[in-house]
C-alpha cells in the first residue's frame, strides 16, 4: 500500500467562503496521526505556509518524539512520527514522487458532491489496493479551496450518514474515510 494523507491549512475556506490560511489544531495532528498509524498510511503531511504554525507543529512533534512525551507515551510517538511538515501541497507531491519514483494520484475530500468528478469509496479502495500511489487530501476550517479541488484527479464522495447531516470534524471524517478505504 502506497497511501499518504495531506491535511491542508492553506488554501481553505472560512465560514464566509473567503480563502484563508487556518491555524493548526494540535488535536488534529494527534488524532489523524493515530488514524494514519492504525491504517498503515506511509506519511501524514501537515500543510501550512505559516512559519509560526510550522513551529507549533514542530514543537508538538519534538515533544512526543524526543522530549518528555516519548517516554510518557510510546504509542503517541509511533503515530506522530508519521507527521511531515510542508509549506504547500506541491511540497507533499514532490516528496512522495521522490520516495515512490512517480507522482501520486490526488484524491481530494469535500463535504459537497462535485458532479462528474466524484469517485466512490469502492473505486478509490480498488486504486489503493492495486498499488497506485495515492495522496488523500483533507481540508481544515470550512474545507478545501476550489484551487485544490480542481487540481485533484478525483474528489471522494461525501460521507453521508443516515440523517442528511454531514458536518463532521476533519478528525472524525478522516477516521471514517480511512476505515472505508483501507479497513479490513
Amino acid at each position: 500500500m502506497r497511501l499518504y494523507i495531506g491535511l491542508v491549512h492553506y488554501p481553505v475556506y472560512n465560514k464566509n467562503n473567503q480563502t484563508i490560511a487556518s491555524a493548526i489544531t494540535t488535536i488534529d495532528l494527534h488524532d489523524i496521526a493515530r488514524v494514519a498509524r492504525t491504517y498503515d498510511v506511509k506519511r501524514f503531511f501537515v500543510i501550512t505556509p505559516l512559519e509560526d504554525q510550522q513551529m507549533l507543529a514542530e514543537r508538538v512533534k519534538n515533544h512526543w518524539i524526543i522530549g518528555y512525551g516519548a517516554k510518557y507515551n510510546r504509542l503517541r510517538k509511533e503515530a506522530i512520527e508519521l507527521v511531515t511538515l510542508v509549506s504547500y501541497l506541491g511540497g507533499a507531491i514532490d516528496a512522495i514522487a521522490d520516495m515512490e519514483g512517480e507522482p501520486p494520484l490526488l484524491i481530494a475530500t469535500d463535504a459537497s458532491s462535485q458532479k462528474n468528478r466524484n469517485i466512490s469509496y469502492e473505486k478509490a479502495r480498488n486504486l489503493i489496493q492495486d498499488g497506485r500511489v495515492v495522496i488523500l487530501i483533507l481540508g481544515t476550517a470550512w474545507g478545501l479551496d476550489k484551487v485544490i479541488i480542481n487540481r485533484a484527479d478525483y474528489v471522494l464522495d461525501p460521507i453521508f450518514g443516515r440523517a442528511g447531516y454531514n458536518h463532521l470534524s476533519v478528525r472524525t471524517a478522516a477516521a471514517i474515510i480511512l476505515d472505508r478505504l483501507v479497513g479490513r
Copy 2:
C-alpha cells in the same frame, strides 16, 4: 432505529490501570455529538459524577444552544442538543427505559478483545437494524473499568486497522464504530 451513545468519564482507567474519574474534553463533546447527529443517534449521554465537570459540559451546551454559538453556527447547535448529562451509567439506562418503555442492551467498547463476550460489527448492526434498544458505551482515558465491561451485555470487537496498532482517540473510534454499525 433506537440507538444511544454513552461516553463514560467514571469509572475508567488511567495510564497506571487505576480507576479514576477523567476530566471532560470539550472536543469529545463536539466531535462525538456531530458523529451522533450524522448517524441519527437519539441521544448522546455524557456520564460524569463530578459536579464541576458537569458544569463545564453545561456551559459548552448552553453556549451553542442558547448563547452566541447558536447564532454563530446552527449546525453545532443541532449536534450538541443531543448531549444529555448524567452522573452514572445507571442514569442513562433509566432515561432510555423511560423513553423507550424497555431497558437498552448495553454494548461496551474496548481496545482489547474480551474472549467469549465479544460481538462482531455485523451482529451488532443486525441488533440495531432489528429495532432493539441499544446503548453503545465508550470509555475515556485508558478505557472502561472492568465493572462496566462486566455489566455490559456485549463487548464490541476492537477496531483493527491494518497495522496491529489500535490506539485511536475516543472521538475517531466513535466515528468508525458508528459508520460500521449504522452507516449505509
